[in-house]
């Protein structure tokens, strides 16, 4: 099988007027497609498992589920080069280990965090890259080119712009992909940073995960246009819309934006339409059942990105029915999904991460007073 076998059926392209003859996905090999499928499992299992662990009382902090939004993460990350930067936010926890994870998840020179580091972070242990000083998604790594976020939504977009500016000065061609919810696009810093990036044609791709809700506020109270991607029009930059449930459509659109950015033409926005599966955080699950109409939730969850990917792979002949059955968690909530609904390699991978976390200690108390300033040289 050729390495560029293509992934048709035809793209469900919602970007106006965008019908390239060769889509980025057409350059993906069968192996790539299978890896993407596997990564969707991995992201889903990570989420399911964390929800379980949280319910068992093993975790503190709020869990912002990425369930149903895995297509956005995997599709956005898959085409990045190792030296590219990413800037994930609260709902993108799997992005930290999905970055540059292709095929050999344990490759030593990977430009992404290991599952061990990510688990240590979730469990609040000293083995996390930030030694458990800040919580959840507020990790990152300078050496692995992952920007550390604060809680302040959209606050890393200017950082992304700055970091690629620095890279460009050094002769690099790195792109930075930032992730933001649709609600976060209402922040002033979103505007300032994209404006700056557009003026200087900086290679920043802003992926907007439009999951229809920002906590308890529907998208139409955050954004006056139907497509959040239209915000791009204010800066004269491309605004693409992807079906966030179709990992290959996300891949097409984000890769288009990445190529555009890398070629020096500047930033763009890729809106991925998706739907938040649960409450805003796990503390919000019960309330979310009240403030969100049941039909909406059912409709929003009907198109499971893993199922859609599976269908694509089946149609392409990349997998057969038996393989397709490896994943049986489709449509299941965390409470319903069991370990053997997932491929064993995924479960093992995460188990190893958790094992590491559990063996990592809490940081010693006096580290609380350390690293306020750089130690004198």
């Amino acid at each position: 099988m050729s390495r560029t076998s293509g992934t048709a059926p035809a793209a469900n392209a919602t970007q106006k007027g965008d019908t390239p003859s060769i889509r980025p996905r057409d350059l993906l090999s069968k192996e790539d497609c299978l890896e993407i499928f596997r990564q969707l499992y991995l992201a889903r299992y990570f989420d399911v498992r964390l929800i379980k662990e949280k319910r068992l009382g093993h975790l503190t902090g709020t869990l912002y589920s990425s369930h149903n939004q895995e297509g956005v993460l995997v599709g956005s990350l898959y085409g990045l080069k190792p030296n590219d930067w990413i800037s994930p936010i609260h709902r993108d926890m799997p992005a930290f280990f999905l970055k540059d994870i292709k095929f050999d998840w344990r490759r030593a020179d990977r430009m992404g965090l290991s599952i061990e580091e990510v688990c240590a972070q979730v469990w609040g242990r000293v083995g996390s890259p930030g030694r458990a000083r800040d919580n959840w998604s507020h990790i990152g790594s300078r050496s692995k080119r992952i920007i550390h976020s604060t809680s302040m939504l959209a606050g890393t977009i200017p950082v992304a712009a700055g970091v690629v500016y620095a890279d460009r000065l050094d002769g690099g061609d790195a792109v930075c992909v930032t992730f933001n919810g649709e609600g976060s696009t209402a922040q002033g810093i979103f505007h300032e940073a994209i404006n700056y990036a557009a003026v200087h044609k900086l290679p920043v791709v802003t992926v907007v995960e439009n999951n229809q809700w920002a906590y308890g506020t529907p998208a139409e109270l955050e954004c006056p246009t139907t497509d959040v991607a239209d915000r791009a029009r204010g800066f004269g930059i491309p605004g693409l819309v992807a079906d966030g449930q179709d990992v290959f459509d996300v891949y097409d659109k984000v890769m288009t934006a990445i190529n555009y950015a890398r070629s020096g033409r500047g930033p763009s926005i890729v809106e991925c339409k998706t739907f938040r599966a649960y409450g805003h955080g796990d503390h919000d699950d019960d309330r979310a059942n009240k403030y969100r109409p049941k039909e909406d939730v059912e409709k929003g969850r009907a198109r499971d990105p893993i199922a859609i990917c599976r269908a694509t792979l089946l149609a392409l002949g990349h997998i057969d029915a038996a393989h397709a059955e490896t994943f049986r968690a489709e449509g299941k909530n965390a409470s319903e999904a069991k370990n053997d609904d997932f491929p064993p390699e995924v479960v093992t991978f995460l188990n190893e991460g958790i094992e590491f976390a559990l063996q990592s200690s809490l940081p010693p108390a006096d580290e609380g007073a350390k690293w306020v300033f750089r130690e004198a040289k």
Binding site: T60, G61, G124, R125, V126, R131, A132, R133, D134, N135, H138, T150, S151, M152, L153, G183, S184, A186, Q187, G188, I189, A214, Y215, G216, T217, P218, L221, E222, C223, R287, Y291, L362, P363, P364, A365, D366, E367, G368, A369, V372
Partner: protein, 337 residues
């Protein structure tokens, strides 16, 4: 009148219920009161402080705002300019930094700049405080920024009674106010209390003595009121009789209550959860040192967060924050001076 509770027999109310009652009652009383913030309507607020408010008063008076703190403040200023009173919620007080310019430069100064033509009855309130594992961005006590920005009232209630009374007081005060709610107290059962049936508002600027004592005075507010009270119990066992003052309002500050106490105890320990440098405990030490110097028998002391952010992991968090143990040790040192 409140939606929240219509009991035959009175029940003890927690801090969040007290706040809720204040909002319902003020919305009823003042048709010009508008509430706005992120997720305060459909959801009823991240912590439920505005639960049911939009259902009762409609979406035009209880507004779900975009995630735009600067605009939440700035449009509140506009509403006030248009004659309204405004409650503007920060989902966490930590996010107030995103609306900082509008607060310190637009809102705080409006009355001053216009030689009194324009009043700014805007209360910016939000959950604050550490000890809950909220880490750097869900634990802040950033009150000192606002104390150093003239034109703002700064309030921090520590009990349900005060939460309700001070929120009403703030909403009626007619000045812009930053209102620090202690989220760790929101649902704390131990501090639930009976609230008056009748309307009451606590005017800003009155401290309260939470515990009388003769040997030493703790001056504090918010969550540390309880740590000081606990420390006082410990100290009692060691023969030290500590007074605990809850200042409740930082600006304006009730100096009299503090000085009266120092005149009696001659020992001061000022306590805040915020970082030490330029924090409010330092302000208390400075005021007492300047104006009640002769009463002091020992160096005034501060117990505050170390000059660090609030870290996440529990051992780290506890290490940097004031604790009962730190308070007791400081008190012993002070009285033994």
């Amino acid at each position: 009148m409140s939606l929240v509770v219509e009991h035959a027999a009175p029940v003890k109310k927690n801090y969040v219920t007290a706040l809720k009652e204040a909002l319902f009652e003020e919305m009823e009383r003042n048709p010009n009161l508008i509430c706005q913030g992120e997720d305060i309507g459909i959801l009823g607020g991240a912590f439920g402080v505005t639960e049911g408010l939009q259902a009762r008063y409609g979406a035009s008076r209880v507004v779900d705002m975009p995630i735009s703190e600067a605009c939440i403040v700035g449009s509140a200023v506009g509403l006030a300019l248009g004659g309204k009173t405004v409650m503007a919620e920060m989902q966490f007080i930590d996010f107030i930094s995103c609306g900082f310019d509008q607060i310190v430069n637009m809102m705080a100064t409006y009355h001053y700049r216009t030689a009194g033509e324009v009043n700014m009855p805007v209360v910016v309130r939000g959950p604050a405080g550490a000890y809950g594992g909220g880490a750097l961005y869900h634990s802040q006590m950033n009150e000192a920024w606002f104390c150093n920005s003239p034109g703002l009232r700064v309030v921090c209630p520590s009990t349900p009674y005060d939460a309700k009374g001070l929120l009403k007081g703030a909403l009626r005060d007619g000045n812009p106010c930053i209102f620090f709610e202690i989220k760790e107290l929101y649902r704390k059962r131990e501090i639930a209390e009976f609230l008056p049936e009748e309307d009451y508002a606590i005017p800003l600027g009155k401290a309260i003595v939470r515990r009388e004592g003769s040997d030493l005075t703790f001056v504090t507010y918010g969550q540390n009121v309880y740590h000081c009270l606990q420390a006082a119990v410990e100290l009692e066992k060691l023969g030290v009789n500590a007074e605990v003052i809850d200042i409740r309002t930082l600006v304006p500050l009730d100096e009299d209550t503090i000085f009266t106490s120092i005149a009696k105890t001659n020992h001061l320990i000022a306590v805040n959860e915020a970082p030490m440098t330029c924090g409010f405990a330092g302000e208390i030490v400075a005021r007492v040192s300047e104006k009640a110097f002769e009463y002091l028998d020992a160096p005034p002391m501060r117990i505050t967060r170390l000059d660090t952010p609030v870290p996440w992991a529990k051992p780290l968090e506890l290490h940097v924050l004031p604790s009962v143990e730190k308070l007791v040790n400081a008190a012993l040192k002070s009285v033994k001076f």
